[in-house]
Amino acid sequence: MNGLWLVAQREIRTRIRTKSYLISLAVSAVLVAALAFLPKVLGGDDSYDVGVVGQAPPPAAQLAYSRLPDEAAARKAVVDGDVDAALVNGDKVLANGELDQRLGLILESVHRDAQIRAAGLTITPLTVESVGADARYEGVRTGIATLIVMVLFFLLIYSAMFVAMGVVEEKGSRIVEILLTSVRPWQLLGGKIVGLGALGLVNLVVVIAAGLAASSATGFTADLPPGMGGIVVSAVIWFVLGYAFFSALAAAFGSLVSRQEELNTVLTPMTMLMMFTYLTAYFAAVEPAGTVARVLSFVPPFSSMVMPVRTAAVDVPLVEILVSGALMAVAVVAVLLGAARVYRRAVLRTGARVRLGEVVR
């Protein structure tokens, strides 16, 4: 175990000091933080500017009034686009072309309100009660799920690539010959996976922290659904499982070649599988309650991205999460054992690319 730990420490120490790691960490944090601001920027504010001439109507939540001196000024303001519409003397609306349908409804109801109030009547507003599932946060949850898909995908592919590159570096430089006379292949492989995985985890935590911090800065936190803590924890756990699976594959494929130039070709099956997992997870984010999403959230390795997405987007019974997690854990163990076997047999065979069939027998 000591050997594994030493290898992991070296990976962390070497990688964390490189500029590229620090830059990628900063960039991903900034990107996610920017995404948290995005709804505010894109959605604009959802209230209307209404110019008022003469008598002011009662206040309404989505309307911002500005006083105008006369009808001529109001016409000009509407045409210039300074206001969305203008209300003249409480009974005429000036609009630029067709009046926005929603604004029309609001103005209509404000107008009705004013008249009813003037007549001395009061109305009790309707109370609304949901008898279905709590759907208030549906949009936000889908957004978070989509974000999780992207973050998980990039972190997984990025971390797994580094494992593969590290394996090839050691094999290509033959340093592995010396290493394997002092540590076991599983210690060398395990140390690399653990070390680079810890860095990926740091990256994930930083990204989540940046996202949450930005959300609270924009006041978006109030809109976050309850159980956000659970969503975050589940994303982290699924990252660890998915990373273990894909990095083991990356190491096994990487150990077949001796040069970095050959890496992309030999990794193609792994990157294809990852892309496919990403696409299914993306699909699940769009339709989290569908049968496809539900089924795939149990099938490793798709579950590693589909399940956290489902958990974020809809309420998933705990037992489903546990079953899916157990299946994935079994798959991870199987892949780790297989990868260790391939790695052990291929990593000392330098020169031409080793065919997978020669080492899995």
Binding site: G3, L6, V7, R10, T14, E169, E170, S173, R174, I175, V176, E177, I178, L179, L180, T181, S182, V183, R184, L348, T350
Partner: protein, 292 residues
Amino acid sequence: MLEIDGLRKRYGDKTALDGVGLTVRPGEMFGFVGANGAGKTTTMRIVMGVLDADSGEVRLGGRPVTYDDRRTFGYMPEERGLYQKMKVAEQIEYFGRLHGLAPAAARSATAALIERLGLVERSGDAVEALSLGNQQRVQLAVALVHEPAVLILDEPFSGLDPLAVDALAEVLKDRAAAGVPVIFSSHQLDLVERLCDSVGIISAGRMVAYGPVGELREREGRGTLRVVVRDAAPGWADGLPGELTREGDRDVLLCEEGDDQDILRTAIGAGKVEHFGRRQPTLAEIFREAVA
């Protein structure tokens, strides 16, 4: 005592090793000599467990070598390998730790080797910034940092300048003097002759000559007879086998055959004999003969 016994290895139809065996006693320095592709590297890789033999055995102290034994070996592979971006001292220390040294022990062993190999000024540099010769010193330090119980070095002298060769030779002698069996391969036969207690010459996967350097020279030394005669009358050697040349006022006769006593009597009769003796072959000559 390190014993290598009957190693065989085939790659497809090609026989790489065909029953290679040798023994290195504690404190003995063994030189491994052979043409490129003769099987030196394959043998060393099998000793280090980097490669599996088809048959044969490597024993240490009478028992088959285990992984734990090999962790105490120092190894310098034919193809040098270091982490290019890692700093010199950090790298040597890391390998010390991997071989099981405690942090403090690894640090002090590293400092001592850096001093000894003349790398003090480069200890904080990344390996890739070093000249090839200096990289090789680092490679050697990596092989030595854990005070290995056995040293297996594949071409440790290639690419070194004369000063570095001397420094490395001193280090190896020290290790041998401490009772460590040392095996190294080299194409520099004069160096092997100077440093090694015994040599093995390998050709096409077989050990063709093997033993202590002195014995080997005597055994192979049905060497040429060399006679130097002064003031001899021309034509004195006409009846003798061999080749006569003139160097200044001396005649030099080189004989591959013939009865040495007859030759000596004839020479004494002809003039003043200044030299009479058999020249022992150099290792290079033995090597050429053996692999021919």
